[in-house]
Symmetry: C2
Subunit: 328 residues, 2 copies
């Protein structure tokens, strides 16, 4: 089978392409399949060139807004499309038009390209728990009605609805995954409002100071990059019938306070590392992040075998192992 | 103030333009205002020419997908935009692309035109209770999470989300109204799946037979055209603060079975009129309409002074009076 990945140059995209390239088979829609090709799409050409050196990986540079990119993708007729391309929350708030272009219209155009494929592909759409909001960083459930308070969350929710309708109509076999805040993100900070959740761990572990824009009591619904990867593969494997007409899945995560995160960092990497975190309250970030749920109960996702990290220490160790940082 | 109406050639649009032309003032955003101009937009040119003979009414023919139409609208900078243009449910199900073009992209383009206006206008977006679904024609509440089972309902829900986010960002003062099924619609049948709710009343009253595609026990959440008009004016009058950040309003209606509708028709217009209704079960229509709620509790809308019809007889008499049909 052929697999196409949008946003392949992003951190999750690169991990996914690398992991798929190392495998020979993948379960799709309830059946094991041989992987014959991986098409890595992104607007950033340089990381794609690097990825294209991996076995079975082919680079498809170009924006989803470019008809030529979509025509190539439709012609290629992948069996599985993993749609990661997105403008993150802080940037979608700063530039409404860019967020609409990528997060909404990019998704609409991709679904239309899927309709032009030889057979309906499985489409995995990366959504976010930013579709939810709550009054005071509360714990909610996967059945809580979404009520986004950001353009990013709004655009992701609109995309979910399109994926849901296109699945009902048989254009695609859609699965929308509402990802928890993913930490620890490697590389340079992006413009996600939740970026500090990675920054306060990643930067001190690299010996750099990190600003903490929110209070220690704020709770986050978190998942590690490796968990996110597992969830994508699990979503691909699911038989469509298992979704019962509702292809949107709120993924489980671990609920942890910023204070607990810092204390775990001090325990695993030493107090001098944790001391590199400096309080730098930022009302704009606090306003966005505090309207996100601090925890989410997800019995449906768990029954579908989506599992969260064991605890925050596991999540932090995953990053330390990847970066070769020795525990204190 | 200047008022722009999209879909002005539709039945509700024509009623609205006519009613506004007869008034001198209208409450907008909590304050009484003088009406100086009414811009009637539609793709159907002929009814617009007729409307343009009314005082203060100006025709703006053209699709919302045409940049020239939107540029004219933005340049005109109305204080109130009433967005009625839509592809109805049966048609949006039959032609996915047309539904997306008008119901989603038309709304996105109109919101963008509003951003180019001199000041943020009040935008009233006509949505529908088709955003809801339920298992067995149940009674739901305005807090029930939307879960559309039609492309029409999906596209309307996506439009609501955009209006909500654009309102939060201050681009517009948005109000999305989820209209009940509107009956009795005058004129020729349209392609709404709910069209029979008007047809089984309108056609027999005109001496014509009418097909009944659903069973007598099916319940509908109904409102009359005059009520729909009142609700639009009420939504315009509301101060933005009254909406508390949630600009989507599920409108109240009366909950009535098809059997009660037919019995009331027999009582007011005579049994020989009701006898013109012929059972003609249509599984496609039944499947769409039975997934709509049979009744909706709307305490928030009622607290905001949106009132439903008194009963079904009032709704039927409104049509008989307008058509000059004598009661039996």
């Amino acid at each position: 089978m052929r697999i196409a990945i949008t946003g392949a140059a992003g951190f999750l995209g690169q991990m996914l392409v690398t992991a798929l390239s190392a495998r020979d088979t993948l379960a799709l829609n309830g059946e094991p399949r041989r992987i014959s090709a991986i098409i890595a799409n992104d607007i950033a050409a340089e990381p794609l060139d690097r990825l294209a050196r991996l076995r079975r990986v082919h680079a498809l540079p170009g924006a989803l807004s470019a008809p030529a990119t979509l025509a190539r993708l439709a012609e290629d007729s992948p069996d599985l499309v993993i749609h990661l391309a997105a403008v993150v929350s802080g940037q979608a708030e700063a530039d409404f038009d860019l967020g609409m272009a990528v997060n909404l219209h990019g998704t609409v155009d991709l679904v239309n390209a899927c309709r032009a494929m030889r057979r309906p592909p499985v489409l995995i759409f990366a959504s976010s728990v930013a579709v939810f909001s709550c009054t005071a960083n509360d714990t909610i459930t996967e059945d809580t009605p979404p009520a986004p308070r950001s353009s990013y969350g709004t655009q992701k929710l609109m995309g979910e609805l399109l994926v849901r309708d296109a699945t009902r109509r048989g254009f695609i076999h859609g699965r929308s995954l509402r990802f928890p805040t993913i930490a620890v993100r490697p590389g340079v900070p992006n413009r996600a409002a939740s970026g500090f959740a990675s920054g306060i761990l990643r930067d001190p572990l690299a010996g750099q100071p990190a600003d903490l824009p929110v209070g220690r009591d704020l709770r986050l619904h978190l998942g590690s990059p490796a968990r996110a990867l597992d969830h994508i593969l699990r979503a691909a494997a699911l038989a469509q019938e298992a979704l019962g007409g509702e292809p949107t899945i709120t993924l489980p995560g671990i609920s942890v306070t910023v204070g607990e995160m810092i204390d775990t960092l001090a325990r695993l990497a030493g107090p001098e590392t944790a001391a590199l975190i400096r309080p730098a309250p930022d009302p704009a970030t606090e306003a966005i992040v505090a309207s996100w749920p601090g925890g989410i109960d997800t019995p449906r996702a768990r029954a579908l075998d989506f599992a969260p990290n064991a605890d925050f220490a596991e999540l932090l160790r995953e990053h330390m192992d990847r970066r070769g940082v020795a525990a204190a």
